[in-house]
């Protein structure tokens, strides 16, 4: 089956690509590698994002990432462990009783403490940016259509989880417009204060409404005995929880790999069981997304970044972190750099998204 010219890339391919880059970012605190991942993600987003309103998710999550970095550094400087090293300046400190060992208020602030915190904050910010990129590049509504029938048992949670971020971005735009029309502040602290509550409220409400409208249509499944539905739902839900915990164990380099793998296997088996036993109604899809060569290439490009970082980690683990003792420039491990660079390829491989915005505005009007 050939790709028609206007068919966008499969949303799951974009999510795999962005997820792979997030995994790569989660394995390193080297600011050079993190910076490259961020630049690569930004480049692909600017070349291939949809001009639909969810295309702005990337910018919104970049801003959130900046806030995370600032909070991480400020908390480290004010309350963090007093890390030894080259002292920059000393804050007035308040002695705490011995039962509060490990927590400090004020004290000497070292270069090592500040730079270490900066790199960790950057890591979280880059992972957030990857999440924003996935939301910008793939329409969450298309993604929702790919969810297998069995998962519809937990569909309210799934659809809220998938569509919440783009809904927040949509909401921000809508509330801003409303405030501008009423002559209220839309920027600065005052603007944000007026924005936060209606945005969060509106976004959640719309996500739930979307889920409810899907539920009302029965998610395209046939009716079956309630008992079987309950068993299927329990298996699927338990399996998903297992998958989540297992993935955490597998991705967190600090915990034992064996346990994570075992939990993933059990969770995966439960989910597959749930999906198989779920009633398969005959569903027709309107313009279904298909998986072509381009989708495979995009996924492989993302995996190349992970492979580069993991290979560097097994060869030379020190190159993956910012050296603190002594403070030095971060290493530039060639394999990791090359792997991350390969992840730019989707900006050429993926088909250009069709313009949505003009049509959407027409439809709204």
């Amino acid at each position: 089956m050939l790709r028609t010219r206007l068919q966008p890339l499969h949303p799951i391919a974009w999510w795999c690509w962005a997820g792979a880059l997030a995994v790569a970012a989660g394995r390193t605190t080297n600011p050079l590698l993190l910076g490259l991942i961020l630049a690569v993600v930004a480049w692909v987003v600017t070349t291939r994002r949809s001009d639909g309103p969810w295309g702005r998710s990337f910018g919104a999550l970049m801003r959130l990432g900046l806030v995370v970095v600032v909070i991480r550094v400020v908390v480290q400087v004010l309350f963090g462990d007093r890390v030894p090293g080259a002292t920059w300046f000393t804050l007035p400190s308040i002695p705490l009783p011995s039962w509060a060992a490990g927590v400090t208020i004020g004290g000497p602030v070292t270069a090592q403490a500040a730079i270490g915190a900066l790199c960790e904050g950057l890591q979280i910010a880059v992972i957030l940016a990857c999440f924003g990129a996935a939301n910008s590049l793939a329409s969450s509504f298309r993604l929702l259509r790919c969810v297998p029938a069995g998962l519809y048992e937990v569909a309210v949670a799934v659809s809220v989880a998938i569509s919440f971020t783009p809904q927040v971005v949509l909401s921000i735009e809508r509330v801003r417009d409303a405030r501008r029309l009423r002559g209220r502040a839309t920027s600065g602290l005052k603007g944000w204060r007026g924005l936060a509550v209606p945005v969060l409220d509106g976004a959640l409400e719309r996500s739930v409404a979307l889920a409810a409208s899907m539920d009302a249509r029965g998610f395209g499944r046939r009716s079956t005995s309630p008992r079987r539905r309950r068993v299927t739902a329990a298996a699927t839900l338990g399996g998903l929880v297992g998958l989540g915990i297992g993935l955490f164990g597998l991705l967190d380099s600090g915990s034992a790999t064996g346990i994570g793998l075992a939990v993933i296997l059990v969770g995966g088996a439960l989910v597959i069981g749930g999906l198989v036993s779920a009633p398969h109604g005959l569903r027709s899809r309107y313009r279904p997304d298909r998986w072509h060569v381009a989708e495979w290439l995009v996924v492989v490009a993302g995996l190349a970044a992970v492979a580069g970082v993991v290979a560097t980690g097994s060869n030379n683990p020190n190159a993956l972190s910012q050296p603190l003792y002594p403070l030095a420039l971060p290493a530039g491990p060639a394999i990791a750099l090359a792997g991350i660079l390969v992840a730019t390829l989707p900006s050429a491989i993926a088909p250009k998204p069709a313009p949505v915005r003009a049509k959407l505005q027409e439809a709204v009007a």
Binding site: L36, T47, S139, L341, A354, L360
Partner: protein
Amino acid sequence: MTGHRPSSAQGLAADTTPAVATRRTGPLMRTVAVTAVAAVATAVVAAMTPGTIDRAAASTARQSQDPSPTCTVPSHLASGQSVVAVVADFGGANGKIIVTCVVTRPGDSGAQVLAEQAALLGYPAPRYDESGSGLLCAIDGYPTSGCGTQLGDHYAYWAYWHGGKRWQYASGGAGEWKVSTGDVEGWRFESDGSATPADPPPRVPSSSAALEMPAKAAQTTTSSPPSTGQPAGPTGHSGNGRGTNLTLFIVGTALVVLIGIAALLRARRASDRVA
């Protein structure tokens, strides 16, 4: 498919005419593509050259047969300076035990004293946990990797002790501990420790009187046990490796800047078009 807007938008999106969506390869895009290819080539060539991937030189801890090591106090101390004995017990049946007399200033922390000990002995600087928790990972590059590695219920870690009448397990980190005259700072590597005060203390006397010897006529500040012929600096970086690393760092930084600027320019151009 009438209820909610998204699906109708989706349907409309797919209805756009082909003319709008024809691919356009801008000159900027072409430049960036060429640069990216060139950069990958450079990186691959750099990776081929030997010495890029530095393998940490394994520094093995030598053993000492000296039963009770001591250190020598320097004969001349400036006013305000004091001497602190630092004990580094590398653990194991035959692990080396090094005692060093370090000259300190008032208010020095345990971590500073340990860094000073490393400088005196020509060791690499003590390695601390990368997360910035202040946990000591390695003295003299030992162990070469890992930090408080957990093995089942047990940990392989450097235990921190304060000397005096007896060895006391430290309740805080070396960065927070302020040393004073006559203190003894003890470090023992516990290869199978429980990370509690029940772990064995350093295998030397705990009092400064037993560890510190007054200066004789012509002796140096420190006297580690005689046998330890240290491998000269287990830093493991050859000059060539460092040069390549710098090149790679510059290449990497240039890439980040280039791609970042390209993305910014493109984003700006796109927003201009919309406006």
